[in-house]
Subunit: 358 residues, 4 copies
């Protein structure tokens, strides 16, 4: 009951890291949309492991397969099921953690909650599940593109290295030009060096992904509980390793006075706009047509290549050995995931907004 | 379709600031719970306007009435409807804003989304709606108390005044002993002075509410999309004026290394615990039995007592005059709202967790 | 979690027979609809007790009050809460059944399920709850009228007296002209006599309500599980005392051959129509533009004016005495309830159908 | 948004008749259940085409594959995805119906609703989708077996041949001993003859499936809208070709007096029981512990082997030719589908009933 997101543009994901497959069923995609398989695969490629020296070296092809809901290249309004088969299963790798709880992983909580768990590679709690979101998010992007809505995420912080520029001072087209996905080339180099040195230390480090949505019409988002930023926040906090979310002025805005923070309205052509945008494009939970922007904090990944002291299911002291491959910093690969979840939120909001007025 | 929260312990709120009443229907409260009306009313009193010199001086009694779902003082498992009649309606007060868009309010977005709106006091977008959440949250608290779960929120920042102590260094029993609801008496005085001076300037200022949940059993929260912290985040971001949410190590955790951030397990009696708690009591989206703690950022309230330049529905330049009464800083009154939403999230999680295992 | 119906045009009802009030919150009604209070009250009057000699003689005024979601006579897109206060409570009447289980009532099952119940007048299980559906259904009718959709229910059977004519042979305008709500005046007289004699015997008898929906556009209803007739069936079976539902050819259609039952298509002007309509206006779960018609079976009401042997909560033999007032046949008053639930199903389907195509 | 059933034990199906695969995701199955693959496959075999001379001769192996949610043979509480690949696609077979509307099929309504459709074998509207329900229903049966709940469906009517015996007079173990799945061997022979003669006439005929649920605890089913029989009714009406549903006394009960119809309580050992069971095991929408029984009417299948006059998408007169293979009577293969949907309803009710009381 908990593996679904969305009310009208709705996804249900399934699959474990080392089960047969990971996949998603998208129910509610309107009929008549061109399902561009190449684009969907490309989004998955942005997420996949082994894409650069600063991501995990695990090799997975992650080829997506559409098994339903498509006819002659178009969506038919019926559920779109998509699958990626798990190639690099190698379950033997994981026998060493079968009975032990890795620190800051979900091993302990899953075991307690369910009384049974697929311990191989984290099973269902593995970030591998996010490929299903990226696949569905790619379709959401195709849908949003019909309405002129565009989403750009990028890495704005790694450890203490924080990009001080606003998204308006950056060329977001640069994001994909470096392996850390930071649109500032100078900062990108610094970030890559930092991650590389953390990697060599067999350690991990956190980061922040920023995201901008442009071209949103006025009116998306539902009062009271389903405010647009509440949906975005939940979607982001549902991504593995996320610890915080802020939009518009965020935590910094706390320090401001209302007279500074209020966004004055003005008229530009036939549009009502605001001079500043501390609101982050959302007022009263509803998009106001300005850019929506927000920041997502990711903790350092829990999987280290160092040995760690822990306990096993019997409560005995054990060592969790650091072997295999690890992701020294999750944010470069998190960029497409943030975009995908954002796209899913907006696609759902767009459909919900269609049934509001007479 | 958007005025509900919860899957099993579910609330639906209704009512406008200046309509006849504001209320809530709670569906899913288990049968047999003592519905302590005095406690519920007391929670509402913590939220109500006019309670101190640093909150809005509007006078509202906000007497709660239970109209269904109760029999001989106990819940019966049927929907519990509760109402507060709007006494201080004074609709005439609002004619001056009937056609104009107040900056950083929801006037513009509601008008565009629905084509019609009750402009009196913000109508449905008014924070007055939150009294319905507090009433339902009070029942959630009564339910949680049966399971030993306790929730404490407090003000940890006003403007630039930020309490540097962790909740463990504070006596949370002190929270209700001052009007700003900061458990540190020295900081409380400073905060009160700051708010008072902002109020005299006819301005407003932001703040942060921190919240701690103690006594949570292991196992609450649902993977994948309904992670416990994702539900908490959504619930907080659904409160008016909230701009950010972080839990555990939050945005600061970004700067840490995995080897610092990982919470080592140990055994204490018959419990498995963690030595540190950067995880914020939640791992893999599921509570691990440690304290859950998080921070919620509130922007400065948009209603000022200053005149502001704006536009009206026709796009003409108008002045929004600052008259009436205003809330110079929303966080003192937000404390019970944060607690209420937290209680609702946990009550729902608790019920959902009952149907997980054979 | 079970007191709601609808996905987009959604109602949540609350209230017990002898609690303070019975009411409903309608969430999802589009903004801009004229909420004709006189029409809503009139629908309630068609359902209310004491309206004729063949219905229960209980006197209840059932005056409806709208407490939210309305501004200057129009819906605003926010939740519409409506209430009827319980006037004729007289709780003392019910002390004689406090601990005993009335045969074929919900006393036993509620007690077992919840461990506590409001026994007065059946509490939540009372058909009094249906007034909330009629109030919300009235708004649904106002909404459907904008799209030219019209709903007519009528009594087609009482006990063994069954109207053999199809709805096409009847003048449905006649339905409200007699107290049994059968559009055939001759049959109506017979039905009234039968009910009256059953009433004099302190007994009750069953009946059938037929319903026709005209003016439905092609396309309402969702495959696979939410077929239009599945939604209608569920809505009807959710009405107290209903034992069966059939649409189109129904149970009789079982005896037909496919070559007889298939509805041949033809073109009439710019519409594609069918020559026969055994499909009942629905094919593959989706409306095809022909009339939708169905039949709903109501058992004889369980409340008799005769004494009945039963048991109490302790399992001891007791007599449930027949006193007070009773409804000898529920179908005349069920007509507006059937219409209301039909309207709610169609309003929801209409909104859901808006988000299907690009 | 419409391809799911259930709130807590929830299925989402996907796939078209001639797409790559048909499948289902079951979310909410409690952890720790033995997933007996042989049993699941056996249930599918009861549904599959070509199993006898009186069902369609289409050959499909329908081998089920579990792709997630299983670990060492047990459910893990995570989503269970299951797939059947479509072997006998032969899309060429269907070019003759690409642009034409088969009478009483969903061709016309899907085309109008979505503007595009997979016409091959009915696409999503094909009864082939029901294999996904049978697979999930098999797991529901395994779950219910843990609680002693047993479901038996059988064919009780074919055309005018109606079994007059109640289920209590029948040996339900006999059901699987003949190809028509009627537990009365004599009637079974007559039914088989009838279907065979209809088949030879290239025609089809309707039927009724009866179903009995034994071992249900008191308390399943939710007032008000989600009454147990309302859920069962919706689930049955969601099966292709179903035109009616009745439970307990059903449409016949209409003719009874309340004094005849009321089920008198008595005590048997430590159980409260009823002497008669016109209620069909459900009172006030909640199971009372007696047997639940109901009847489901199926129309004659629309696919004939006769030529039929119809129209195409352009509204031109065309002939729909009868070729290929057809199912002369759907009810023998509908028996496992009725059981599966019943199991899904009860599994969901069982989980929902766990969160009702303190």
């Amino acid at each position: 009951m908990s593996n679904s997101y969305g009310k009208l543009f709705k996804i249900s994901t399934f699959g474990e890291s080392h089960g047969r497959a990971v996949g998603v069923v998208l129910d509610g995609c309107p009929a008549g949309l061109d399902l561009d398989l190449e684009f969907i695969q490309n989004e998955l490629d942005r997420r996949k492991p082994g894409q650069s020296k600063i991501t995990t070296q695990r090799k997975e092809e992650d080829k997506i397969e559409i098994v339903s809901g498509i006819f002659e290249g178009k969506s038919t309004g019926t559920p779109i099921a998509m699958l990626v088969w798990n190639a690099d299963a190698r379950s033997k790798d994981y026998s060493h953690i079968a009975d032990r709880y890795r620190p800051s992983h979900a091993d302990f909580t899953y075991q307690e909650k369910y009384g049974v768990r697929d311990y191989r590679g984290g099973g269902r709690s593995s970030a591998r599940e996010t490929l299903a979101r990226v696949a569905a998010g790619a379709i959401a992007k195709l849908f949003l593109a019909k309405y002129g809505i565009k989403i750009n995420a990028y890495v704005s912080q790694v450890g203490g290295l924080s990009l001080q520029k606003s998204y308006k001072e950056l060329n977001l087209e640069e994001t994909e030009n470096n392996i850390v996905r930071c649109p500032d080339p100078v900062m990108a180099e610094e970030m890559i060096s930092l991650i590389d040195s953390v990697r060599k230390d067999c350690d991990t480090i956190g980061g922040v992904v920023s995201c901008v949505v442009q071209g949103t019409p006025v009116g998306l988002g539902e009062p009271v509980f389903d405010k647009l930023h509440a949906e975005l926040g939940k979607a982001m906090l549902g991504i593995n390793a996320v610890k915080g979310f802020e939009y518009g002025s965020g935590f910094e805005g706390v320090k401001m006075l209302g007279s500074q923070h209020n966004d004055a309205f003005y008229v530009e052509g036939d549009r009502i706009r605001t001079k500043t945008n501390y609101s982050g494009g959302i007022q009263g939970g509803i998009s106001n047509g300005e850019d929506i922007y927000f920041r997502v904090a990711f903790k350092p990944v829990a999987t280290l290549m160092k040995d760690q002291e822990s306990i096993n299911q019997e409560g005995e002291a054990v060592t969790v050995s650091g072997k295999g491959r690890h992701d020294p910093c999750v944010v470069p690969r998190a960029v497409p995931i943030v975009e995908a979840m954002t796209a899913l939120v907006l696609a759902d909001s767009l459909l919900r907004n269609k049934v509001i007025k007479l």
